[in-house]
Symmetry: C2
Subunit: 214 residues, 2 copies
DNA sequence: CCGTATATATGAACTAGTTAGTACATAAAG
DNA sequence: CTTTATGTACTAACTAGTTCATATATACGG
């Protein structure tokens, strides 16, 4: 398959191999959890081999941590929050909530990895460098919106941005994380486009009702 | 250890053995997940033996399903909702939310089992007989409260009780399910009494603000 | 510019330890 | 003598991780 190589093409290929392994492993860990996923199965689905997993990532835990770090790296890239600077605070907040909802809905793997990490008592997330720093920017964005809303007498005073973030996250996260049990318990498919569309607006309504000045 | 037995004492002991196994297995499955828990480890922590796990529950999956059924059996026993019949609708709803919050906070094993079941795509929850029926009563209770609140012009019209339940569940569930990642991301311990107390009231505030008539 | 050492990358087969599940024997009660 | 309950020892399959061999490209001294 591989013909003559230069230094660059070699580095490139190695990088592709690493990325390919991470993509496959992300799917497997998200699907079956850290304990449930199998190294041999991941290796098989890869364009590469088991040997290379150990070569690049050291072992199952190393691979899992790399997968987790990559997943968290993706979510914090949406610094599009600056877009909201020109909007009124309530519209900005709604837009931010919808963005959060959409991210969760379109990244079930991320949600499932987080679930799994909680099953494992957060033993690996602590190893990701600078994770708190990355999240601070989300809180800062929310604080800006809150302050602006309070100044415009649209929002109540005294809401902690961390609480606000927690509430938005909880509502958006649950929609993906508890999809299967909710379906079994209530016969509602949280993944259907119709339910999603309704819920997306509803979550924003809930948060805005709470934030609203009396 | 065991002396002379009668038929009854034998049945009783057998029942204690089964219960003991289920208790131990609940902790283990909640702690490590279905794939992560080990039959040998469960057996060791039991007053009984591995042999009896297979005798009573058939295998790992059978044991897990029995654990899941038992956990779901417990949560639906709080039919204390009738207590709220005498209260105004908003107070009743707040009380119900606080009850839900407390249940989640004091049963992390249940929350973690549900998380795990979602990791496994709800493959086992479907096997629990009559699970939908059991949940219908929760929705019915909520509907009663909503209707009463609407009649008293305390609540908005048109809120679907399933949506209301979903929102309450999401907020209460997240507080337990995402404890470890939230701590790692934001340095907030959702399990501390102070945070819990604040959050308990806050969740009720959020839902009530949304339900309130304009 | 050639040869040799060195770092990077990869394949194939193997292994030690684990893990779910079973076989067989037995004991007590009805 | 049959049903229920239980202890001991075993096994077949799996699973993470390793060993050894090797190919290719670059570094570097002569």
């Amino acid at each position: 398959m591989k013909k003559k190589q230069t230094a660059e093409s070699r580095i490139l290929e190695a990088d592709q191999t690493r990325t390919n392994i991470l993509e496959v492993a992300t799917r497997e860990f998200a699907d079956k959890g850290l304990a449930g996923a199998r190294i041999d199965e991941i290796a098989e689905k890869t364009n590469s081999s088991k040997r290379m997993i150990y070569y690049y990532f050291g072992g199952k835990d190393g691979l899992y941590e790399a997968v987790l770090e990559r997943a968290y790296g993706h979510i914090r890239k949406r610094e599009a929050e600056r877009l909201f600077e020109t909007m009124p605070a309530d519209e900005a907040l709604r837009a931010l909530i919808e963005l959060t909802f959409d991210y969760h809905a379109s990244h079930p793997d991320f949600v499932r990895l987080v679930m799994n990490e909680n099953i494992h008592h957060g033993d690996h997330i602590g190893k990701i460098p600078g994770i708190k720093e990355r999240n601070r920017s989300v809180i800062a964005s929310l604080k800006t919106i809150i302050d602006k809303g309070v100044a415009a007498r649209l929002f109540r005073k005294g809401v902690d941005p961390v609480d606000l973030h927690m509430s938005i996250s909880a509502l958006c996260f649950f929609n993906v994380s508890n999809r299967y049990t909710f379906e079994a318990n209530f016969g509602v498919d949280l993944g259907s486009p119709k339910t999603q569309k309704k819920r997306r607006a509803q979550i924003a309504d809930i948060i805005l009702a709470w934030m609203k000045a009396d």
